[in-house]
């Protein structure tokens, strides 16, 4: 089995070579890795890799096949691109496309101000929504000149992370 895994801008090809009980052998961009991997809790894996011991936690990310990985004190966001994802992308259902048109907050919070209306033309850098969380306000801006297609939230709404706030053309 082979999939692509994306961290930031980097995409690695990962292939499962062998899996025997808790021992796994795989290749990342042609380089071979072997490890004894124990599933400690549903989301925590204990790796023994060249006798080095390290715990890695994998949590589900914002979307299906997106993961948030914690190793020691670092956090990595990864995406597994398997055959199904590639098929979806080829059919234009890819995730990349939607993202640019949806303005959302990576964190939950409360909408304190909506600065735009449906149909407005906004300029690059204009603030469209202000979200408050834990006594701090964050401004959400458009990166390019855009037209507002839809405003999805009202002032005073509590929002989840990654919930669409405004959709632009």
């Amino acid at each position: 089995m082979t999939v692509d895994i994306k961290i930031g801008d980097k995409v690695s090809e990962v292939e499962l070579i062998e899996r025997k009980g808790n021992n796994i052998k795989l290749s990342i961009d042609g380089e071979i890795f072997e490890a004894d991997v124990q599933n400690i809790t549903p989301n925590i894996y204990s790796f023994l890799y060249n006798n080095k011991s390290i715990d890695v936690e994998v949590q589900d990310g914002a979307k299906n096949k997106d993961y948030v990985v914690n190793t020691m004190m670092e956090v990595f966001e990864t995406t597994v691109i398997d055959a199904e994802s590639k098929y979806q992308m080829a059919r234009g259902k890819g995730s990349g496309h939607d993202d640019e048109n949806i303005i959302s907050s990576p964190m939950p919070g409360k909408v304190v101000k909506v600065m735009v209306h449906e149909g407005d033309e906004v300029k690059s850098g204009d603030v469209v929504v202000i979200v408050s969380a834990m006594k701090m306000e964050s401004e959400y801006k458009v990166k390019k000149d855009r037209k507002i297609i839809e405003v999805c939230v009202n002032e005073g709404d509590n929002i989840d992370s990654h919930q669409p706030l405004v959709i632009v053309e």
Binding site: I5, V56, M134
Partner: protein, 503 residues
């Protein structure tokens, strides 16, 4: 003696107070807003009462409601924690009127010390050394120019009612005096409804050092030494330690005496903190007094073994302080790191939400004052501080090593935290050498948020782990599809046992 205490607060400080209540055999009463039914402080209390909507202005800050609950529950006393109503003179008065002990100072003391101009006047009269400056309000532009020139540039224009860095303006050049005063006034008016501002000499890169004091109603006042609080980001403390690496025994003795003088000047009863600015030449200046328990009080408890909350409760009940000044000494070194739910790599954006896993460090010299647990959803409405990690060791060097060890095994997922950022502070040269001032974070920010050197190796691990997790989830899904009879699939019976149902 007090038998039941209502804790008019939430989160870690409410829990901190409850610990001591339980140890003293005192019942604790929690209050909670709509957002806090599942909060740990509710679960750990003996009793808990609902007090209103999530917004603190409609719950934790409503004096009438808090008083109501105190009466309904039969509480003898109210502990306000820090923040919320802790430095509210009206609340202190109202408690007294209702015959409830307020665990904190009288309204007079809160008022005098809460207003920076009146506090300055009081301190100067008591012989406490303050930052050179004036005690009068700046009424107009001429005043501004004259007063600033008297004090000498650079100066800080400060709102009398201010706090948390609001209503403050640094002026370095003459041409900026008038605009600085105007800006401070308008911010003060907007922020506190009061545009009174005054002028203080600006101390370059000062150290923020505070002294813990305790007073009782029998006229005894003692200090419990200093806390070094110079590691701040936007006037928010991040790391505190005691003893201060800057301190000498002589300076400690003098500043301790000044802190006691400050408290005695207002007949202080309870636990309080006298804040000083200290420059590199060890000149010290009274800054302000906080008339409540401080977030960073644990490091003092660690090196003195004094339970400050116990002392607060006992002196509020009219007892004498358990200690004389000469009984007290500092043993070892203690550091507190504030763990915030925020993302240092995204401009410290707050990160509330579901804590998927929370595993605190254990072993020698570790204390955790926190309130989150695995599966707890951190509300969006309150402070981003989720826990305080306090380490104590023989000396400063070993305390830093211990802090790094503790941070290494402190696991929080689901929300972003500043744990790695805290670790970088410990690893920085300036912190390790003890030569740092309030400029520390700004000066070191690039180092503090830079990538780890082992990132590349961990990068690979992250890929492997994602792949394995994907395989497992995939296998699970597959297995499910393959199974005709729903009830026999293996993961499902597991799911059944472990499933969380909101009841």
């Amino acid at each position: 003696m007090i038998k039941k205490i209502l804790i008019a607060n939430r989160g870690e400080i409410a829990i901190r107070v409850m610990h001591t209540c339980r140890e003293m055999g005192i019942k604790s009463v929690a209050v909670f807003s709509e957002a806090d039914r599942n909060s740990q402080h509710v679960r750990l209390a003996d009793e808990a009462y609902f007090i209103g909507p999530a917004a603190s202005a409609e719950s934790y800050l409503v004096i009438d409601t808090i008083i109501d609950v105190a009466k309904k529950s039969g509480a003898d006393a109210i502990h306000p924690g820090y923040g919320f109503l802790s430095e509210n003179a009206t609340f202190s008065d109202r408690c007294r009127e209702e015959g409830i002990i307020f665990i904190g100072p009288t309204s007079d003391v809160i008022s005098v010390m809460g207003d920076k101009i009146s506090a300055r006047k009081k301190m100067i009269a008591a012989g406490v050394q303050v930052v050179p400056g004036t005690k009068e309000n700046i009424e107009n532009d001429e005043d501004a120019i004259r007063i600033v020139k008297e004090v000498g540039l650079p100066v800080m224009i400060k709102a009398s009612a201010g706090g948390g860095g609001k209503g403050m303006r640094l002026v370095r050049e003459e041409k900026d005096i008038i605009s600085g005063v105007r800006a401070a006034k308008s911010e003060a008016l907007a922020g506190f409804g009061d545009d009174t501002v005054y002028v203080e000499k600006f101390v370059e890169n000062p150290h923020h050092i505070e002294f813990q004091v305790l007073g009782d109603s029998h006229g005894n006042v003692i200090h419990l030494f200093e806390r070094e609080c110079s590691v701040q980001r936007r006037h928010q403390k991040v790391i505190e330690e005691t003893p201060s690496p800057l301190m000498t025994p002589e300076l400690r003795a003098i500043m301790g005496k000044q802190a006691v003088m400050a408290a005695k000047a207002v007949n202080y009863v309870g636990a309080g903190t006298v804040e000083f600015l200290v420059d590199d030449d060890l000149n010290y200046y009274f800054l302000e007094m906080n008339t409540r328990l401080q977030v960073e009080h644990p490091i003092t408890e660690q090196v003195t073994r004094v339970d400050l909350v116990r002392q607060q409760i006992q002196v509020a009940a009219g007892m004498e302080i358990e200690y004389k000044q000469e009984d007290l000494f500092q043993q070892g070194h203690s550091i507190e790191a504030r763990v915030y739910a925020e993302d240092p790599c995204s401009n410290f954006m707050p990160s509330p939400g579901l804590v998927k896993n929370h595993q605190a460090p254990q072993g020698p010299g570790i204390r955790i004052d926190g309130y989150v647990y695995s599966n707890y959803e951190i509300p969006i409405h309150y402070d981003p501080m989720i826990s305080k990690l306090i380490v104590t060791a023989k000396n400063r060097k070993q305390a830093i090593e211990r802090m790094k060890r503790a941070l290494y095994s402190y696991k929080i997922s689901g929300v972003r935290t500043n744990i790695r950022f805290l670790n970088r502070i410990m690893e920085s040269e300036d912190f390790a050498s003890g030569k740092y001032s309030t400029a520390f974070i700004d000066k070191n920010i690039d180092y503090l948020i830079q990538k780890e050197s082992h990132s590349e190796e961990h990068d690979k691990l992250a890929v492997m782990a994602s792949f394995i997790h994907y395989l497992n989830n995939n296998a699970v899904a597959k297995k499910d599809e393959d199974t005709e009879e729903c009830n026999t699939s293996e993961w499902k019976s597991f799911g059944k046992r472990k499933s969380l149902m909101r009841f």
